[in-house]
Amino acid sequence: MRDVAIVSVAQTVHRGAATELNEVEMIQPVILEALQKAGVRKGEIDFTCSGSSDYLAGQAFSFVMTIDAVGPWPPISESHVEMDGAWALYEAWVKIQTGHADTALVFSYGKSSPGDLPRVLSRQLDPYYYQPLWPDSIALAGLQARAMLDAGLTTEAEMAAIAHRNREAARSNPYAQLRGSASVDDLLAAPHLSDPLRRHDCAPITDGGVAIVLAAGDRAAQWADRPAWIRGIDHRIDSHNLGARDLTAAPSIGLAAANAGVANGPVDVAEVHAPFTHQEVIVRRELGLADDANVNPSGGPLAANPMMAAGLIRLGEVAQRILDGSANRGVAHATSGHLLQQNLVAVLEGN
């Protein structure tokens, strides 16, 4: 395998509704910033890959218009995934491994504000048996949280503490949407939104995006003082069938973590893609993180959750801490689909 590193990261200042911006206007400055941080021109990028969703844009082939954000003229070697940008990064990493590219630009974005996100996400379900019932994403997460509580794997107090910890951590993240939290006692005094979930248990609805530059070997060393080397990366999927799954587990995370080599060294920082508080408990367990691990110093998805970007942002947040020297080895996790169905895990190192 070739050594490939994240050499720069940029993201939007995440907001509930970037009403005045279309997707190109929202992501283009972020792409430019990522290139500038690496000190490169777009002509030095061998491969470009993005992630987005037509269902969020409300438009078939929406990414066809958004490619304008990279100014692909003269024509570029490019691809797009209808997945979180973490998988776009995986495709770019594979491309670099083939030897056909040494450098890549990866970006992803989502504007959830124009639609009713929980109902939009219900369109992600089995069209014959689940979709007609319109179970929304929060109701489904509520089923999972209830299963966790019934199994004694978490408590509503622990869930509130997770919300509090993430949103307090977000105070130091200038890109976060929700910064700071009421006390755990105050959180628990709030009514249920979708029993047993309270509003604080759910990620906010966010418009935003992220861009990352990848480079291989010597090029990475030229483009960053301290590249964040991708030492392991893997992704796996579990069943969609809610009735056939143990909702309190996500074996695809454990499998991806083992393949990525999470346990092969200390974890200075972990950024996990858990849009609901109880899911952080599952992800931590599946990743095998220690109880005192430094998880989501950015505030995580509970502080800003731009769909299609929140997973790639996890990679970016870990990489940024390696790039700036505050961490040496970190783990990033991204998820896709309902109830942690599909998962990607990456291990990044400074040395």
Partner: protein, 389 residues
Amino acid sequence: MGNRVAVIGVGQTQHAAVRGDVSLPGLIREAVYRALDDAQMTMADIDAIVIGKAPDFFEGIMMPEGYLAEALGAVGKPFFRVHTAGSVGGSTAIVAASHIEAGVAERVLTIGWEMQSCSEAMWALSFPIPFQQQLVAGAGGYFAPFIREYIRRSNAPDDIGVLVALKDRLNALKNPYAHLHEPDITYDSVKESFMLWEPIRYSETCPSSDGAIAMVLGSESVAEATAAATGVRPAWVHGMSMRSEPSMASGRDQVSPQAGQDCAADVFAQAGVTDPRAEIDMVEMYVPFSWYEPMWLENLGFAAEGEGWKMTEQGATQLDGDLPVNCSGGVLSTNPIGASGMLRFGEAAMQVRGQCGDHQIDGVRRALGHAYGGAAQYYAMWVVGADKP
């Protein structure tokens, strides 16, 4: 550049306007099982799955891979979704092959599919305000002006499109999987079919199909072992490339887009092809509207600028011509959009493997699979061959 890759299994569905006899996963599994049978493998043998389709709105399922994971044997495996507009079938095959070239997998299942009967594709492709000015109806409405410009520049006779449509629909009669089987089609019936988007007539436009195609791709050692077991030669990937350009840019030529030229130049360079007309034995190219055959012949470098229509007129692209094009009947006869590009890639591989039955060309050593999408701005191509590269 990386590890060698070969196509070792191909399977496609019976394509039709409405496949009401199968569920959505049932449709895809029809292609998957045929591809696995061709490779003498089962789902358990597969390391990773790379799947592609066109807009999720066509079936009304957002990111349907999650739902499909179990039906396609993906649980516990890497399962990857590509979407690059109409070129997606080709791009998906390339991303799948890249997994082997990169050394991250040895046996990759790749799938392209669409169940267009779930929706009305033409209106799904007619972008509403504020995304685009409300000027066009369907993809044909978008592309018709560029075809007219091609005719103006090249002084092509006005029946070249008729000849392409007649050829492709006659070829489809030799392909049992094709959607359209029109045994009574004639030059006159095509020419007299009603005008949809000047100069595109009804019989010169692609149908809307339900269908899927799957391929099993293998590493060098897997391909050789499979070939020894099945007795069917692998189709080795000699080159593959993707290129994209903007919908609108100053200086952009939508008649012969630069991205298409660049992509062809790249894929031929990788394959060591210097004279495409002489060195490529057959082409499966993405021709959803008849006139795109001569336009792509020029764009890909098989004919000089303004000369592509002469190849069509002289019969060079017929089954018995020197560069047969779309022997399967092509997109003009079968168009499940997310599968259409991979059908081109898969049919090219089948020709190399000698699996095409009545539409097989004798002695195909090297074939080109081509797909395009968006506003003629996304390209995916591969060259597959009988010889190990």
